[in-house]
Each structure stands twice: as C-alpha cells, then as structure tokens.
Amino acid sequence: MTVLSLSKALNEGMRKAMEDDPKVLIMGEDVGKLGGVFRVTDGLQKDFGEDRVIDTPLAESGIIGTAIGLALRGYRPVCEIQFDGFVFPAADQIITQLAKMPMRSLGAIKLPVVVRIPCGGGIGAVEHHSESPEAYFTHTAGLRVVACANPADAYSMIQQAIQSDDPVIFFEPKRRYWEKGEVDTTSTDWWTPLDRARVVRPGTDATLLCYGPMVKTCLEAAKAAEEDGRDLEVVDLRSLNPLDTPVVLDSARRTGRVVVVHEAPVNNGFGAELAARITEQCFYHLESPVLRVGGFSTPYPPSKLEEHYLPDLDRVLDAVDRAFGY
C-alpha cells in the first residue's frame, strides 16, 4: 500500500499505462514540461519523451480532433482539457466525431481516446474554471462517462479508461486532487470494473447517490446523520454512462428514500435521469420522491458565492430531512 494524493494516483496510473503500452500518448496544453496546471502529468514527459507526452498548440478542438486521427492510426491518446469550461471548443469533435465514428464504421473503427477533465468548483477560481458539464456528455451516445472520487479509484479507473476501446470522458474532481488515500499499486485484484458503482457506505434508512467531488461531501453528511440516528447509504456511481442500474435500484429498494447529489445544476442534470429510472422501476418501494441537491439554474457564480451554489453537508441533510417528511 502506498499513500497517494488523487493527483499523484492519476499520474501513477498513467505512468503504468504508458509503461505497459507504447501506444499510449498524453496530449494537452502544458502537460509536458509543466506537468499540467494541476501537476497530474508531472514528470511524464521527462521519462517518456516529447513524442509521447505532447504539449499541444492552444486549441481544444485540435487536441480532440488530432487524438481521433492518432487513434485511427492505432494510438491511445489521453487528452487533458485544462479546465472543465474549456472543453466546449472541443465539443464538436467529441460529440459529432469521437462519439459516433465507431458506430458509423459498423465497428471497424475503435477510438480508444480518453478525455480527462478536471471538473467542479470549490477552489475559488474565476469563471469557466468550476463547471460540471457531465450531463452534456452523458446525453451523447457513444461516450463512456466516468468520474473518480478517491485516489484508489483514480489510479485504477484511469488505467481502465485507457484500456477501454471506447472513448471515455474522464472527470476528475479538482478540489479533491490533493486528498490522500491508500492505493495498492502492486496488484489489480481489487479493481472494480470501470462501469460499476460502489456502495461506499452501507446504510438502511436512505440512499445518497453521488459521484466525483460530492462523494466526500455525502460521506460527511452520512456521518453527521448518524448523530441524528439516521443510517444513510452512500453510493459512488463512478460510471454515469453506462449507469450501474442494478446497484442503484437495489439500494433504492432497500432504503426507500433516495437523494441525488451533484454540483451540476439540478434542472436537466444527471439526477433527473436517476430520479426517473428509480421512479419507473422502484415505485412501490419508495417512501418519498427521489430528491435532488445540486447547483442552481444560474451560471456558476463568482467564487465569493460558490459556497451557496455548491451542495454542502447542510443542503444534503436538508434534503434528507425532506425525504423523511413524506
């Protein structure tokens, strides 16, 4: 067991993937010499060279478009989008090309491209640096969409994403980059398949569904709820597309109360999909409607207000209270 920060765990995961497969490339803005603005690719260019760790021109559409070309040629590019808000110049390449090309080729083409996106708020940044754009991508068929929440998952999931023959949108909770956790880098026995959710805290009274940066928040909320005598289950979804429906539905059936928590706006957010699915399939098990906690239907506010915008322990517990009020 080694103790790694989430950022370092990603770094080690990519390093391992690059050692294992010479076709794995890293590309993005400032990923080389600087090691990325969050240092996630620190040292990789030094060890693998400029041909494999590529500081690209400043153009996100170019990054994804050329990654597609490299993938067509047999490479496995891992692209870094510097911040969530800057994935949009690449949206066309991701949505119209990356997501659809394999299907158009009747499977002849595989595009093992990973798009790493530091996501979410909570770091006091200026605008466009705190977005949660996952729903745009879960709404696009052809993309796997995952989010890691802790160092061990970061380490294993990035390698699984790179190994996947499908394009993977890989969300990294930027405010958790510096959080540390134990990672076993000597074996893969403990790895959870990339498309599986995980119950990170079993409970009986209500379920908190979350992913990425909100997993920690939900675990804290569950701890606080314990003092009120409520036993909350916390499910880290890990994969948003595909969704690990059995784990989600099983939890909902057992507890009968579900609160979905994400930083992205509630309105038309990923939580809406969860609520709909749970309602459709567990209607008679539910004690209350599925409730959602998330961002508001406003642009991400200036950082002095982000504590109001972002779900925190209190807002999660408030929703839990409401769930018990039915």
Binding site: K33, L34, P57, L58, V126, H128, P299, K304, L305
Partner: protein, 363 residues
C-alpha cells in the same frame, strides 16, 4: 524530434521601433509619431500607474485578498500604446490581462479586482467604456470583435474595433475564423496580438513556425510586428491601423513583440519551465525605463516630475488597496439576478426556495 527553440521567437528586422531600449528616438520609413512633451509625459504617467495597479493587485493576491491575478508586468507599453490610440467611439475586446487598456478606457481598476476577488464576473458596463468584459476562454472575443466591427460597418459609423489576444490564442479555431470573417467582410478591426512569448508554460514555437504577424497575409490583410515594449511605436502602429480600419481599408494584424515578465498568473510557477536569464535579457528592454531615459535625454522631464508620478502611483496603490478591502461580498441571492432579462419562472422558484432555506438558519 527536436524543435529549434529560437524559431519564430527572434525579433526580425521588420520590427517597428521608434524608441530604443536605451531611450533613443529612431526613424521608421512607414511609421512615425509626433508627440508633444506633454503627451510623452502623459504616456509615462500611464505606464507607471498601470504598473503600480498591477503590483498592488499582485500583493493583494499574495495576501489572500484576490483569488488569482494575471499580471501585465512587461506589457505596459503594448497596452498603453494601443489603448491610447483608440478614440472614444472605438470598441475594445480584451482578454483577462488587459489592465492597461482598461485604464485607458477609464475603467476603475477596482472593477478589475472585483473579478479576481470573486465578487463578480466583470463589474463594468462595456457600453459605458467601449471596453468589453474580460474574456477568459481563449480566443472567443476575437469573433465578437469582428461581429461588432461588422455592425459599425453597417451603421456607417466612423469607428473601429480592436481585439486583444495572446500568442497562444492564435492557435484557436475562433481566432482563425475571426481572421477569415474580418477579411471577407473587410471589417473595421485591428487584431492586436501581444506576443509575450509564452502561453502559460508553452513557448511560442509550440504555436507557430513563422512569425505571427506573417499569418495575416495568408488571410488577406496586412500584418505588422511592432516592438511591444516601445510605447511610441505601439501607439503609432495602432493609430495607423485603426485609421485604415475606420476609413474602410479593412483589418490589420499587429503583433506586439513583448514579454510576460511575471508568472502566467499568481497560480503559476514559471521557474518550472523557463530560465531566469531570459527574464534578465528582457529587463533591459523595459517599457518604462526607456521612456524615462528619453525624457531625461531630451529634457522633457526632470526628477521632480518622476517623483511626482511616483507619489501619485503610491497614492493610487494605497487607495486601490483600501477600496479593495472595503469591497462588500455579494449577497447570496445576487446569483439569481440578470440570468435572463425577463422574468423567469424557474429562477424565481429557485431564488424563493433558497431564500427560505437561508432563513431557516436565521430562525
């Protein structure tokens, strides 16, 4: 695969310069400028004051009063020279680093701090100053600037727009599209690229293999490279380009050859990717020192004037600091404002819900 690090980064003979780093006035066949002593002193004052604003902001950031700051250190001449070339009717579209241009457009520096303090996303009215909001997404504003210029054209107005962007931005699709639009529509616009040699950690050769100003010819309009640390040359070249634009002669690209003397932003550590000697070399080309030498050599100013500006700068810095610290935090419910211009049911509902939620804590 090695890349010649000097390619594209050397200042070629075409560089327009009117004032050498030593403060000597030099002639250029295509550009000249006739400045009164008063005008020279005024430019000097601008340069010193915006540097002071910048230094104060850097300090405020270090003390935790700003979340982040993008310093303009080293780029004062490019910004003041181009900014002072604008008429009131001209419209400027900045990036996030154009504090010197903001100064020329009479935007209170406090308003710039608001954005970096996280109080707002840009607290000034672009229409009041003909200075658009800062744009953080690299390159986007160049298209807005062209569209605005197309509007000017259709209004038959005597004005031009100026779009600011960096060397890194020249790689963006939006910027290249803006060149095409401007060219095809003969839009009254000046593309003002501050080539400060770096895009965060990426040196110029990661973006281009030819000098940036030469890109313009491929799009069908003139490009010119100016000494970006020479405020006279920046003023002269931008003035001429804006005049051409206003007179219907279409776009010009200006590449202001300069240097980012500080970190990319306060969150950056340039020692990880560039050598200190580079900075030392550029220090010799400082945009402020050369104007001072010129003024002294030509007896346009004496030490008393310098001291007076210094005192004014101190005052400006202290005042800015005090006003920054006094800046009120926004009210939580402010985030629901201005999302739409007309009433919006969902926003109203969420605002009411959140207000009730907050009240729950007060009870």
């Amino acid at each position: 695969m090695t890349v010649d690090a000097s390619r594209g980064a050397e200042a070629p003979p075409e560089l327009v310069q009117l004032l050498t780093p030593e403060g000597e006035r030099v002639q250029h066949p295509d550009y000249d400028i006739d400045l009164t002593p008063e005008e020279v002193r005024s430019l000097y004052r601008d340069l010193v004051l915006v540097r002071r604003v910048d230094l104060e902001a850097v300090a405020l950031q270090r003390q935790g009063e700003l979340g982040i700051w993008a310093s303009l250190l080293g780029q004062e001449a490019a910004q003041i020279g181009s900014g002072r070339a604008l008429t009131d009717a001209d419209m400027a579209f900045p990036t996030y680093r154009e504090h010197g241009v903001a100064w020329c457009r009479d935007v209170d520096p406090l308003k710039l701090l608001g954005l970096f303090r996280g109080v707002n996303h840009g607290g000034w009215d672009p229409k009041e100053h003909n200075f658009h909001l800062y744009t953080i997404v690299i390159g986007s504003q160049t298209l807005h600037a062209v569209g605005y210029a197309m509007g000017i054209q259709r209004d038959d107005a005597t004005a031009a727009t100026i779009a600011y962007f960096g060397d890194g931005a020249t790689s963006q699709g939006d910027v290249n599209e803006s060149f095409i639009w401007a060219s095809v529509f003969n839009a009254p616009i000046v593309f003002f690229c501050q080539n400060n040699q770096w895009a965060i950690s990426e040196p110029l050769e990661k973006q281009t293999r030819i000098p940036l100003y030469r890109r313009a010819s491929g799009f069908g309009f003139p490009g010119v490279r100016v000494d970006g640390n020479d405020v006279f040359a920046c003023l002269a070249v931008t003035r001429a380009a804006l005049k051409n634009a206003r007179e219907g002669q279409g776009p010009t690209m200006i590449e202001a050859f300069t240097y980012r003397m500080g970190a990319h932003t306060s969150a950056d550590d340039p020692t990880r990717y560039r050598v200190a000697s580079e900075l030392e070399a550029w220090k010799l080309k400082d945009p402020i020192e050369r104007v001072k030498s010129y003024m002294f050599k030509n007896e346009l100013a004496d030490q008393a004037f310098i001291d007076e500006i210094e005192a004014e700068a101190e005052q400006l810095g202290a005042d800015l600091r005090a006003r920054c610290l006094a800046m009120p935090d926004p009210e939580p419910l402010a985030m629901f404002e201005h999302v739409y211009s007309e009433p919006h049911a969902l926003i109203d509902e969420e605002r009411a819900q959140y207000a009730a939620y907050l009240e729950g804590f007060e009870r």
